[in-house]
């Protein structure tokens, strides 16, 4: 059986996939159902090679990273024990590839935005290629949660509204504390009886309330 090879190319990236058709599932002669290996050549970086699980790990990390980047909410993808991880780093993207061999330091690649876009497009081409029938597990793009998007707003702007609210509340509290409250013991009915204040004499103001209105 002839080994098949599929190649996906962009300006700075070339992804090559090799394998055989899975005849047990009735695949045609031009399809790849059994992956024997893949290689990724990024211009100016070491060529990467791996097996199916490494390709799946790369897809599971790069695709959601690109998804978050479109929403201006970049974050790290890839657990510490995962073979691939990607981190945002200033204006670049740090792709970390960890070897399964013990005592082997991880390989780190620093990609700029254009190189990352090339890599994403190569992976998109691979996923959309009907000849590749590997049933690779990749997360489908989803809208982000509000908490994930909150990070893109600077801390100062995020805190401005609650801080202003707290300041306004404090100011209102201070002002209300400065206003003198009438003391309950200072009320003198005798003094109020001789008062010329119309408010103190319900009869003059015509208000129906008060003891003077009551029949004797």
């Amino acid at each position: 059986m002839i080994k098949l090879s599929l190649r996906y190319e962009q300006i700075s990236c070339r992804l090559t996939v090799e394998g055989y058709p899975d005849v047990s599932t009735g695949q045609g002669g031009q399809a790849i159902g059994i992956l024997t290996g893949w290689s990724l050549a990024l211009a100016g970086h070491t060529e990467l090679e791996g097996k199916r699980e490494h390709l799946e790990a790369l897809l599971q990390v790069v695709a959601p990273y690109a998804r978050h980047l479109i929403s201006s909410a970049p974050r790290t993808f890839g657990a510490p024990d995962s073979p691939v991880a990607i981190h945002p780093e200033d204006a670049r993207h740090r792709l970390e590839l960890r070897s399964s061999q013990p005592n082997t330091p991880p390989l780190t690649l620093h990609l700029d935005d254009a190189e990352l876009a090339d890599l994403v497009r190569c992976l998109d081409q691979l996923l959309l290629d009907g000849r590749l029938q590997l049933n690779l597990q990749t997360p489908s793009p989803q809208p982000l949660r509000r908490s994930e998007l909150r990070k893109r707003v600077p801390l100062g702007r995020r805190m401005a509204a609650p801080l202003c609210g707290m300041a306004a509340l404090g100011l209102a509290g201070a002002i209300s504390w400065m206003v003198p409250t009438p003391k309950p013991g200072s009320f003198n009915p005798a003094q109020d009886k001789g008062s010329t204040n119309p408010m103190a004499d319900p009869g003059k103001t015509g208000t129906p309330s008060g003891a003077s209105q009551l029949p004797r």
Binding site: I70, D124, L128
Partner: protein, 180 residues
């Protein structure tokens, strides 16, 4: 809290903020391509959207649902209209990908890159002043000498990452993001 995983399985109308971004990205494509308006109509025909957008006026009317527009239209845009606009945009981004890549590449000489960005921003500014409501805060931010270039870079990066058929679902998901 509603589960976001089901958000894409049923047709969800794009929120106001998403419509703003979609139209701004189309505006960026027009700024990159001098004949962008014509290219958009041609792309619409190529993708088989003659019934949805039989002429450029219909296309323009859908884009006017962007609240930042000078002559904005009220109401919700139909899901099939937004889907068509997203597909037109991703197809245009694929066609313009070499230019997007040049703008984003750090390997380009700084002086050449600066010239390209200056040219792109000046064209975008002309389009913004012609079509968008300059009193809106979002538009003023785009024209701001400090915030504007950052927003432009983000729009170009989003265009590059949503180029081609593979970018359709990614872009659609990002346009459905809730407001932070």
């Amino acid at each position: 809290m509603p589960d976001v995983s089901i958000a894409l399985s049923r047709p969800t109308p794009i929120p106001r903020r998403g419509l703003e971004r979609l139209d701004l990205m189309l505006l960026c494509a027009e700024a990159l391509d001098l004949n962008g308006g014509e290219a958009m109509v041609w792309m619409s025909e190529q993708l088989g959207y003659q019934t949805l957008f039989p002429n450029r006026v219909e296309l323009w009317k859908r884009r006017c649902h962007n609240p930042l527009r000078r002559s904005t239209r009220r109401g919700q845009l139909e899901v099939q209209d937004t889907d068509a606009l997203i597909r037109i945009l991703t197809a245009m981004a694929e066609r313009l990908y070499p230019m997007l890549r040049q703008l984003l590449s750090a390997a380009e000489p700084a002086s050449v890159s600066d010239q390209r960005w200056t040219l792109f921003r000046s064209r975008l500014q002309e389009l913004i002043e012609e079509r968008l409501n300059l009193r809106r805060v979002g538009v003023r931010k785009l024209l701001d000498p400090i915030e504007g270039p950052q927003i432009c870079h983000q729009l170009i990066l989003s265009l590059a990452l949503s180029a081609g058929s593979g970018g359709v679902e990614r872009l659609k998901a990002s346009l459905l993001d809730p407001e932070p």
